[in-house]
């Protein structure tokens, strides 16, 4: 098991919505905003927003991760974009 897989969920959560550069096996490099890390497999889900209005999602398998580097701390705007990409529309407010 590599160093990345041994991290705790709290350490992974601290990286959410930051821009990361991930180096993996066979000299693969990926860059993007961190949407989540699966706590079971340590898979890293990175999102990059393309100019044509599409979002490209790359998941690097936890077992193949070599190094993870933070490039950008992110912002509220990025957090909102990431959440709205995958999460259902916020529930309506109900009266008590």
């Amino acid at each position: 098991m590599n160093e990345w897989c041994k991290k705790t969920p709290l350490e992974w959560q601290a990286l959410l919505h930051k821009e990361l550069k991930v180096c993996a096996h066979e000299k693969q490099q990926h860059q993007g905003w961190l949407f989540t890390v699966d706590p079971v497999s340590a898979n890293i889900v990175l999102v990059s927003f393309e100019p044509d209005g599409k979002a490209s999602i790359v998941t690097v398998m936890g077992h193949a991760v070599e190094t993870v580097e933070v490039l950008n701390e992110g912002s509220d705007a990025i957090s909102n974009r990431l959440v709205s990409l995958f999460m259902p529309v916020a529930p309506q407010k109900h009266s008590k």
Binding site: T8, P9, L10, W12, Q13, A24, H25, E26, Q28, H30, F35, T36, V37, D38, P39, V40, S41, N43, V45, F49, E50, G53, K54, A55, S56, I57, V58, T59, V60, M61, H63, A64, R81, S84, L85, F86, M87, V89
Partner: protein, 109 residues
């Protein structure tokens, strides 16, 4: 399942004092948030054409169907291999380095 529990050990041992039980709760909360997001990312991938980069520079495309809970196998359709198209297949996750797909970012207001 027991298999799932074995794959998902808590990082704090249960014999620790009450001080750690607060940390334990925090850690479980973090685990829930992260896991829910991961499952949503898998849901977004259903019926999408996914590009898998595997070991030994093997690159294949397939339509994603489902995953088991411990992320050991992906069920895919129309797996495009150098030997032809496999209608239905299971991909073993330990053989994958990364996978990618794209979705509409459609700015919702």
């Amino acid at each position: 399942s027991e298999r799932y529990l074995a794959l998902c050990p808590t990082t704090i041992s249960s014999s620790d004092s009450a001080v750690d039980s607060a940390t334990f709760v925090e850690e479980q909360k973090a685990r829930t948030v992260l896991r829910e997001r991961y499952i949503r990312s898998l849901l977004a991938m259903v019926k999408k054409d996914v590009h898998f980069t595997m070991y030994e520079r093997v690159k294949v495309n397939a339509v994603f169907g489902a995953s088991d809970i411990d992320i050991l196998n992906f069920q895919v359709s129309d797996l495009q291999t150098p030997l032809g198209v496999q209608k239905e297949a299971l991909i073993r996750c330990p053989d994958i380095i990364s996978y990618s797909f794209s979705i509409d970012a459609g700015l919702k207001d």
